[in-house]
Symmetry: C2
Subunit: 219 residues, 2 copies
């Protein structure tokens, strides 16, 4: 249909593989991991399904690779490199709680459930978790040496913050948004608690962000 009348286009295997993976990752973020079908990916690229099979003989491998790709590319934007630790943490929490992270939250919820059925995905999740933790842990340790964070143990605080993120993300598919500050700022508040900051410190830091959240997202 989509390409039968079009002339064939011949690309280098590396280029095609990359194109397929990027396409699958886009589907993963937009529509969900179970929507990554040979036909859906092929249609998106204007090629025939058989070609996808040629590059990914077993479809499940493509799904896992797409999750990894999507998780990795979102991670880049998640923890800023510049700014003092408090600012960086505030930016991190605010970003997670903002609508720009909705598709990322959906992706993780999706993967965490799907990993119930496919052990290979569970293994991939674990790898991505470790990478995420490493990144946040560095930020926390920066804050400890700078004397602005006071966690019992940096790693324990890191684990708690990510669990808060997952708890927050669990509600991402809710029909109507929950206008409850303890919900909307859960990640910020848990981070505050886990880092043993004075109550309100991190919420204030979020509010003071230069390109911070618009009033719509304040409590």
């Amino acid at each position: 249909m989509s390409s039968s009348d079009r002339p064939r286009f011949r690309k280098s295997p590396d280029e095609r593989r990359e194109e397929i993976l990027a396409s699958a990752a886009a589907i993963a973020l937009a529509d969900g991991l179970e929507r990554i079908t040979l036909r859906a990916v092929a249609a998106r690229l204007g090629v025939r399904p058989g070609l996808i099979t040629h590059y990914y003989p077993v479809a499940e491998d493509l799904v896992i690779a797409a999750f990894v790709r999507a998780a990795a590319q979102e991670r880049e934007q998640l923890i800023a490199a510049e700014g003092d630790p408090m600012q960086r943490m505030a930016r991190f929490a605010a970003r997670i709680e903002s609508p720009v992270s909705s598709s990322l939250s959906r992706l993780w919820l999706n993967a965490r459930h799907l990993s119930r059925f496919t052990p290979a995905l569970a293994a991939a999740i674990e790898v991505q978790e470790v990478l995420d933790r490493e990144r946040l842990l560095m930020l926390i340790e920066d804050g400890v040496t700078a004397g602005v964070f006071f966690p019992e143990r940096p790693f324990a605080a890191c684990v708690r913050i990510f669990m808060a993120i997952d708890g927050f993300g669990a509600y991402i598919n809710d029909l109507r948004v929950f206008t409850e500050p303890s919900y909307a700022h859960f990640v910020t508040d848990v981070a505050e608690w886990a880092l043993r900051l004075e109550p309100g410190t991190l919420r204030a830091a979020v509010a003071a962000l230069p390109d911070g959240p618009s009033d719509a997202y304040r409590s």
Copy 2:
């Protein structure tokens, strides 16, 4: 196959409907909501798939009903009626964090993800959430009047505790268990924080539980 040589069994519609629903709920808890297929339910009951269609003309309705059933029956065992508020809260947190709640955690993770695709399931989830919250809120308010809990607002504490439960449940399908106290006791610790208890109070209450967790589940 399973029943073609068996003689027919004729049951009252109410009884059969109930049987089907119970069977679907069992599948939901054991194998996941997407495993509730006409054929799977029928095989479990030793009847033909067509019979399931007869009682549930649209399969999605059965899936939703099964989720509601499973969530409701698990709720009964979740919050005890007897004991003082601190004990009841400790029992609640300990149960959530214990392996007996694994299938419940899996069910909610499952439903929360699936609700992305089926709005009717999202609506059912919301109803079950409200019922869960009502139950926990009563416990929290009991503790406030008894002078043992000191939340800023009981409802805010309730929301935070459930978000902690969802955050904890997100890791239920992990391959190897995470031997990190801040993970294993996340719900207890968040409850402690949300209720503004002295650090360690709730963990101590959990440890002091009469039929408390075995040493295997202590940090």
